[in-house]
């Protein structure tokens, strides 16, 4: 997971996200670019909101989230965050930032690392999605 831990993530600058929530435990976000509506649990919503305003690595998100909800920033939480980032990336809601510092990292290496770690994680998925394709 070292590669994911050190990768900076963000919501793309041109992403249009529309948020709705009528209950603190249930958050909806509509992603205009894909037309998908996502149902997020509070952790996923917190991470996505943070990445909409900041760039952050999994380590930084773990520290941030631990401080917000008052839990220990341990490896278990880090693993959960890393899985969540993979899933948010798979949904097209966030993207990695390739900086000069990470220029040695190729897309293929990143994909391989994600694939090899995905099967070992037991974290629950962050969201359900509705894809508004035409019937």
């Amino acid at each position: 997971m070292a590669l994911i831990s050190s990768t900076n993530w963000r919501v793309p600058a041109d992403a249009e996200l529309i948020w709705r929530s009528w209950d603190p435990d249930e958050v909806l976000v509509y992603h205009a670019q894909s037309g998908d509506t996502h149902y997020l649990n509070p952790v996923a919503a917190e991470v996505l909101r943070y990445l909409q305003a900041h760039c952050a690595t999994a380590d930084e998100l773990t520290s941030e989230l631990a401080g917000t909800v008052g839990v220990e920033a341990d490896n278990a939480l880090l693993n959960q965050i890393e899985l969540l980032l993979q899933q948010l990336d798979g949904l097209g809601l966030i993207e990695p930032i390739v900086s000069a510092q990470n220029s040695a990292v190729t897309g293929e290496k990143l994909a391989n690392d994600i694939a090899s770690n995905a099967s070992t994680s037991n974290a629950s998925p962050p969201s359900e999605s509705v894809n508004h394709e035409s019937p």
């Binding site: 529309i18 209950d23 249930e26 909806l28 205009a32 509506t37 359900e128 509705v130 508004h132 035409s134």
Partner: protein, 319 residues
Amino acid sequence: MKVRDLSLGEFADRLRGDGLLLSMPPFVLHFRSSIETLFEPLHLLYAHYDIEPVGGLIDFDVRIDPKSWWQRKVQNKACFYVDGKHIFESFDADLVLPMAEWLLNWCVFTRPNQYFILHSAVLERHGHAVVLPGPPGAGKSTLCAALSLRGWRLLSDEVAVFRPGSKNVIPVVRPTGLKNESIDVIKQFEPNVIMGPSTPGTRKGTVAHIQPDADSVARGFETVPPRWIISPSYEAGSPVILDPSSRARTLMALAEDGFNFSLLGTTGFKTIADFVGSSDCYRLTYGSLDEAIERINQLGDEPANLNQNEVPKKVASAS
């Protein structure tokens, strides 16, 4: 002038000739057909609808006819023509009535993208709308028919229509379609129900339609603010259970039933979110129409949930 003001013969002559301009708010339908088995049931089902004068705007131009002598006399088949264009495959002319109703529903579902359209039944009582979404077979149309026969104004048995940016529901009053056992259930529920003929042999089994009442048709231009979204589920023998449902979960389910969500994009999402946010959401399980109606009527007697951030309180089930 209404359809009922024409004799059956006059009605048939119009359909065979230049066609009939039918006011079906918010739409105007131009309808033509030479298939004689359509005349009497359509004259019944659309009795209370206004006939528009010639020369006005038309939303749907529909003709149902065989495409050749051979198809008419030998094959007993018919075709759909929409805006002059043959669409879909030919079908068995013995099924022409349910096929005609299906085609008109298809026109409403797929064409008017100036509206946001959800697959739901909608009725009104005391100035508030109840929206009944649900998959086929859930008991939505049967419950809709029963409510309309017990004092609820019918807005639609198939679609909840919204103008983008407004959460008021727009009526699209049409004959309520029933299938199989539901036909006899409603006839027993209300022996005086005015229903067209039953047509067996469709893909969904036997189909029949209820004539919408004169008041619902006459008030077809009156939009209604939403108050309740109730997802029904019929279970034989079940007591009535009305459970609160989260608005977020309800929106996700409705989004899957949106006919043109992908076309309207951000506007569609905001429209459905405003509509859901203004409504109390429930799941209804029922085994008796009378009990289900009594429970839904009780909702109308309760004060509105003005705090849109609260999940509505659980309603005690009847015992």
